[in-house]
């Protein structure tokens, strides 16, 4: 498992998050939400700190992290790429677009490229079905993406 050593300052920030929820056990999910916002993901060390602050077992925290698909223990890339696999996008070839992203970036869904630049995930509908198939990079939306257009999108962020 990838391991990191958090800086004292980051740990302090995390403790502040816990404190803002009065270190209450019942607030675990909210704390995890904020923590993921803070770090971009939830590495083991972060979960350990949260467990200690909220006085619950690390196993329990890990249980919650693995239960909800929103939480991730893998760091997101600098440019998170999301492919919409909702019905409209799917029927207009989103799967082929996804395959092309996987091929070009050489990662699977849920993974991050080794240089940390890109991570790949899927989502269900961003409410822009008229533009199907839709791809998001960070906050930016790309419409009517074809497999051929994938390399241009990636190139935009590579430079």
């Amino acid at each position: 498992m990838a391991k990191i050593k958090l800086s004292e300052r980051k740990i302090q920030e995390l403790k502040e998050v816990c404190k803002s929820f009065n270190n209450e056990k019942g607030e675990l999910i909210n704390v995890l939400h904020k923590a993921q916002g803070l770090f971009g993901y939830l590495p083991a060390e972060v979960q350990e700190v949260i467990a200690k602050e909220l006085n619950v077992s690390v196993a329990h925290v890990y249980g919650v992290v693995t239960f909800y698909s929103f939480f991730t223990m893998v760091p997101k890339g600098e440019h998170p790429i999301s492919i919409c696999l909702g019905t409209a996008c799917y029927v207009r070839g989103a799967e082929k677009v996804l395959e092309e992203f996987k091929r070009i970036l050489n990662v699977q869904v849920g993974e991050t490229t080794s240089d940390g630049k890109f991570s790949l995930s899927c989502l269900r509908c961003v409410g822009a079905c008229g533009l199907a198939p839709v791809v998001m990079v960070g906050e930016k939306v790309y419409g009517r993406v074809s497999p051929d257009g994938v390399k241009d999108i990636v190139a935009e962020y590579r430079s």
Partner: protein, 588 residues
């Protein structure tokens, strides 16, 4: 009161109870699988997850799980109509579709609740063939996790978290991928597991079992170059008979000794002897700390905590390392026995310690880990080589064609087989501290203790306290069994709120009689009570009931050890504790 009918019978019960319990009051035994209860100990698991206990409530669209549905006025419950029976069978068939059909070679064969349920519901074929979830097998020094056999009843999770507050196990992932595992799916050995084994004692299937060391013992017994010595813990004799169909609470001390002799052990000794020794050391330590405290020595820490229980030692090393100078430094009886057998008894007979194998029979799984600890080895040779559970001993006896019930009653060998009533009660909650009081009272006051039974220290309440009069000096005693209860007492000490002079802690509910290595009790707390009664019965029947009066203990100090807390004792009979709280998840 609530009035309802169950299978046509009028039932009147208090509100807030479940249909399952209401049915029991009129002799209707609804089958359950994930549900688990240990009455009088506040231990209950009812996640309503397995759906075996479903019943029909007239007028409701869906069947309801009886274990987690409360009674209501006027409802009509049916527990065995065709709809219920079909649903129950389908539920079981679906559970079995994701369970390895390995009953023949499974460690739980014959003790498996899933197997019994298949038998009870008459399942004769497995109609569903679907995907099977697989997971790696995890072997720790004491416990094996074979998660392929897990049915997600989550009893182990309840025991580990709610009862023991150890928090080593949790349900992780979701749906078909869900398993019960330590944090980050680490192996149990890397987690905060104490090896108390309570997860094993409640697991309905073979998903959690002990590491079986029987083969090692058989090999040692077959080796003519080895002198094989066995020691048996007090709680074993109060439960072993259950494995041979005897009533719970039947004392089988004599038959157990006879069986061990027939198995080929060269010397059949008693951990009780070492328990008497523990009292000499631990009791002296208590008096030493107490008298220094009373003289105003500010460096003395009170309360003193017992240290006989290896699950408890693991617990405070993981969770309260900053308080590890409070427990007594006395080793547990198992680990006192080892060096006495190898360094005293063995040397007397001219046997090199490398040629002596010490086996312990324990009601406990943490003892397996304890005897493997590095500090209990001399040049790599463990003081105690192998620790078998009560269950493993029963298997060994059966496999060796010994008809246990027809065995004569035999006596332990001397000198390490002689013990007092005080040592026998080590096997139950409250027993260690009662034994300590019997000796400490006489050593402190110099007077004879007329009434050796301290009834105020006995019982099954989670946390008990009593004040014992040491001839004008009131001694406050605390007792906790179950690690969750121990945690409460520890937190009081941490907060400076504790007024106890001495505290006894045992990791398992009920003490060693309820240990993780004992015959399965299947949630029947009466069995634990009967085992405790048996232990007290053995104590009452002994002529010598105070540890310091054991003639062989007196001889041991005279010949070998010198005096309690002396230099030799310090070297052989005392230990130190470690800080195990450090994160195992983050590399330095």
């Amino acid at each position: 009161m609530i009035k309802l009918t169950i299978d046509g019978k009028q039932v009147e019960v208090e509100k807030d109870i479940t249909i399952l319990k209401a049915a029991k009051t009129v002799g209707i035994d609804i089958p359950t699988l994930c549900y688990f209860e240990l009455r009088d100990m506040n231990i209950e698991n009812r996640p309503g997850g397995c759906r075996i206990c479903v019943v029909e409530i007239k007028g409701r669209r869906n069947l309801a799980p009886a274990c987690s549905t409360k009674v209501e006025n006027g409802i009509e419950v049916n527990t065995h109509n065709i709809r219920v029976l079909n649903a129950r069978r389908t539920v079981l068939e679906l559970i079995l579709s994701d369970h390895p059909a390995e009953c023949l070679t499974c460690a739980k064969n014959g003790n498996c609740e899933l197997q019994s349920m298949a038998q009870q519901l008459g399942v004769r074929e497995l109609p569903y063939q679907g995907e099977q979830s697989t997971y790696r097998k995890d072997t720790s020094p004491a416990i094996i996790r074979d998660i392929d056999k897990c049915i997600m009843c989550r009893r182990c999770e309840m025991m580990c978290n709610e009862v023991q507050t150890v928090g080593a196990l949790s349900a992780i992932n979701r749906g078909f991928m869900a398993v019960v595992a330590p944090a980050f799916e680490m192996n149990l050995e890397k987690s905060s597991c104490t090896y108390c084994g309570q997860c094993v004692s409640v697991c309905p299937t073979g998903a959690l079992t002990e590491v079986d060391h029987s083969r090692n013992v058989i090999n040692a017994l077959a080796d003519p170059a080895k002198t094989v010595v066995v020691q048996t813990a007090p709680a074993v004799r109060a439960a072993l008979g259950e494995e041979f169909g005897l009533e719970p609470g039947t004392l089988v001390t004599g038959k157990m000794v006879a069986a061990l002799r027939r198995l080929g052990f060269d010397y059949v000794f008693d951990t009780d002897f070492a328990a008497d020794l523990t009292i000499m050391e631990e009791g002296s330590e208590l008096l030493d700390r107490l008298s220094r405290y009373l003289k105003g020595d500010k460096s003395v820490k009170l309360p003193i905590l017992t240290s006989c229980c290896p699950g408890w030692v693991n617990f405070f090393e993981h969770n309260f390392p900053e308080m590890r100078d409070i427990p007594s430094t006395a080793k547990s009886p198992q680990q006192m026995f080892g060096p006495i057998a190898k360094e005293y008894f063995g040397k007397k007979l001219g046997i090199d310690r490398k040629n002596m194998i010490v086996v312990s029979i324990m009601p406990c799984l943490a003892k397996k880990y304890e005897c493997q600890r590095d500090e209990f080895k001399v040049n790599g040779d463990p003081d105690v080589n192998f620790s078998l559970s009560t269950r493993e001993l029963a298997h060994l006896i059966k496999a060796s064609n010994i008809d246990f019930n027809s065995l004569p009653e035999e006596e332990f060998d001397n000198p390490l087989g002689e013990s007092t009533g005080a040592s026998v009660i080590f096997g139950t909650t409250g027993g260690v501290i009662e034994a300590a009081c019997r000796t400490a009272y006489e050593l402190y006051t110099g007077k004879k203790l007329e009434k050796v039974d301290f009834m105020e220290l006995r019982g099954f309440e989670n946390i008990r306290h009593a004040t014992i009069d040491f001839d004008g000096l009131p001694i406050n005693i605390g007792i906790a069994h179950g690690l969750g209860n121990a945690r409460k007492l520890l937190e009081d000490i941490k907060d400076g709120k504790s007024e106890f002079h001495a505290i006894e802690i045992m990791a398992c509910p009920g003490g060693c009689i309820g240990g993780g290595g004992q015959p399965y009790h299947f949630g029947d707390s009466e069995i634990l009570k009967k085992r405790a009664a048996a232990v007290y019965q053995e104590d009452a029947g002994k002529t010598i009931r105070k540890s310091h009066e054991n003639p062989f203990i007196i001889q041991l100090y005279k010949e070998f050890l010198g005096k309690p807390l002396g230099e030799k004792s310090h070297h052989l009979l005392h230990t130190k504790y470690f800080d195990k709280s450090a994160s195992v998840f983050v590399e330095e």
